[in-house]
């Protein structure tokens, strides 16, 4: 009897929490549902009543978005292409560089590796503010401004991506590499054929988080790539320029289409996201 009472005591806070979580969860889903419904209206219907369902769902808004959502001569196709290379390029350069540097720093006893680890920690702990103007000036001086080559800034091997990679490779057994060396493998072969394949899981998780943040990043393309509007910066410009005349149903249609790649990636790799671990790396 006592046991049952104890079980009930534990359950009640969980049930109360569950009710709160359900309310909060619904508050996150309902706006998206509302947005999808609004994307199926004609503009007049949208402005007349923001709470009703469309009389006839306008699925053509999703096609019209490709024509109407335009910024500086770039239509939705161009913006999708810009988003793709900007996000994918930024993700691949960052993740690959951080993984390689993380492996080298975790496994090679070399003063420079130790120094690099501390450079990464210090730059993370002391984020220098106000250097955006300077970065822009240097970008212009190097010819990277308004140029897709700006992606080379991703080869930096700093920040939390490096710390996570470092923590991961610290935990990988060096015995695999030693066996490969005995069999005549070189350092490069060990890296590409033995170590990196073991890191697929954190690589996917890191790539996913970086890709999502790049896909949603409107500020960097606005500053560094004004002639290459991504979906994030393009929608901002469209709304700003159209003002009150913006075709919101079409804008919503475009916005929801822009979320499809991210949701698809999340569904495909959601279990990998749970494996991210900073490993207390900042404490030194």
């Amino acid at each position: 009897m006592e046991k049952i009472k104890k079980k009930k005591k534990v359950r009640i806070p969980l049930i109360i929490a569950s009710v709160f979580f359900a309310i909060y969860g619904l508050s996150l889903v309902i706006p998206l549902g509302w947005g999808v419904i609004m994307s199926l209206k004609v503009p007049d219907e949208y402005f007349d009543d923001l709470l009703s369902f469309p009389k006839v769902p306008q699925f053509k808004n999703y096609i019209q978005a490709f024509v109407e959502l335009e910024n500086g001569g770039n239509n939705l196709f161009a913006m999708i292409w810009n988003s793709l290379w900007f996000s994918l390029g930024g993700t691949l350069t960052t993740v690959f560089t951080c993984m390689v540097a993380g492996y080298v720093c975790a496994k090679y006893k070399f003063w420079f590796c130790k120094a690099w680890y501390w450079i990464a920690i210090i730059t993370m702990m002391i984020p220098i503010m106000g250097s955006l103007g300077s970065a822009l000036k240097i970008s212009m001086a190097l010819g990277l401004y308004n140029n897709p080559l700006t992606l080379i800034t991703g080869f930096s091997a700093l920040g939390s991506t490096f710390v996570i990679s470092f923590a991961f490779f610290k935990g990988v057994d060096w015995g695999y590499a030693e066996s490969a060396f005995i069999d005549g493998a070189g350092h490069l072969r060990v890296l590409f054929q033995i170590m990196l394949p073991q890191a697929i899981s954190p690589m996917i998780a890191l790539s996913l988080t970086i890709f999502i943040s790049k896909w949603s990043d409107a500020q960097s393309p606005l500053i560094y790539l004004p002639s290459y509007p991504t979906l994030a910066s393009g929608f901002y410009w469209y709304e700003k320029e159209a003002g009150a005349n913006a075709n919101y149903p079409v804008l919503f249609a475009g916005l929801f289409m822009s979320a499809i790649p991210i949701i698809a990636l999340y569904i495909a790799f959601q279990d990998k996201l749970m494996n991210l671990n900073m490993g207390g790396g900042l404490k030194g």
Partner: protein
């Protein structure tokens, strides 16, 4: 087997008989055979770090050195040439001492966003604990709570903005239920700022929540079972068992939050654009708006000033967090 032992013994005898000079030669021999492998390893490590190092020199050292130079530069009114001066800092101190200045306002906003960040961290770890305890429906809640991190922010912000806009669904509901006609929330900074703060709180647990759940899932089940057998309640289990065991992960997030105090920002671009004269921005976004508007020197000075101001905070926080004994398991 016996033969092997004899062989080893013979080798030991030879070694004992060898003079110190011969021994030294043998050591050199060993070193010589090790050297090529070590060298290759070092060259490989150096080559792998070469590109990140060049990148660091240009885009971190170079950019920040240039930013410091910009902070100490102003345009001479007579010659129209850039000269070394403390003008930007004089302007900053004058601005900070005035009650109606943007930098001071941005600092207050930054502190508000920092406070909210800390509250969200504690809320995240609390929610993560309920997920760890398998709250009914936790699988679906995990997906729902991650939605704002998964769906691009431009989607959520645009939908939220239309929901709370004048004559929007929230306006209509509030009007019908309470008879109160909501103002345009983004027309004045006094209403726009709390609205964006609310959005930030509402929309963001995301990745930190997942990482805390992951850290809790690594706690050995026996520890929790033993505590439960001793009659440990949920609150005590959370405070005295779970938190110390995930302290390393939690303190890392806390330390990163303190380190990023002055770089805190909000989703202002989609809410209010990039008007350099807005009163609701944080320091970081204000710097972005200034640079976007073509001003480089004053934002660089402000950035430098607050970076230096934040340094002791980071080191004190790190020292304090390291004082907490970490439990390894």
């Amino acid at each position: 087997m016996e033969q092997q032992i004899e062989k080893v013994e013979a080798e030991v005898e030879v070694e004992v008989e060898e003079s110190p000079r011969v021994q030294r030669l043998n050591v050199n021999k060993v070193k010589k055979t090790m050297k090529p492998l070590e060298k290759k390893g070092l060259i490989f490590a150096a080559l792998m770090l070469l590109i990140p190092f060049i990148n660091f020199l240009i885009f971190w050292v170079g950019v920040n050195a240039n930013s410091i130079a910009l902070a100490f530069t102003s345009v001479d009114e007579v010659t129209q040439k850039e000269v070394f001066s403390f003008y930007q800092f004089e302007k900053l101190f004058k601005d900070l001492s005035s009650p109606y200045n943007q930098a001071g306002r941005a600092l207050i906003n930054t502190l508000q966003y920092f406070g909210l960040h800390i509250i969200k961290l504690f809320l995240s770890v609390g929610i993560a604990y309920f997920f760890y305890k398998k709250v009914p429906g936790h699988t679906i809640y995990k997906i729902l709570f991650f939605l704002p991190a998964m769906v691009p922010s431009m989607v959520y912000i645009n939908v939220f903005k239309q929901l709370v806009s004048k004559y929007g669904p929230v306006y209509t509901l509030v009007d019908e239920v309470f008879g109160y006609k909501m103002p345009n929330l983004f027309a004045k900074s006094s209403t726009a700022s709390p609205t964006i703060l609310f959005y930030v709180l509402w929309s963001g647990f995301g990745a930190s929540l997942l990482i805390f759940v992951g850290a809790m899932n690594r706690i050995p089940g026996e520890v929790i079972d033993a505590a439960n057998l001793d009659g440990c309640g949920m609150a005590r289990e959370f405070a005295q068992i779970v938190m110390p065991l995930i302290w390393e992960t939690f303190s890392t997030y806390l330390l990163l939050a303190v380190a990023g105090l002055f770089t805190e920002s909000g989703p202002f671009l989609y809410f209010v654009g990039a008007d350099p004269n807005s009163e609701i921005y944080t320091l970081s976004y204000w710097i972005f708006a200034q640079v976007n508007g073509g001003s480089y020197n004053y934002p660089a000075a402000i950035g430098l000033f607050f970076t230096v101001l934040g340094l002791p905070l980071v080191f004190i926080s790190r020292w304090l967090m390291n004082k907490v004994e970490t439990v390894t398991y």
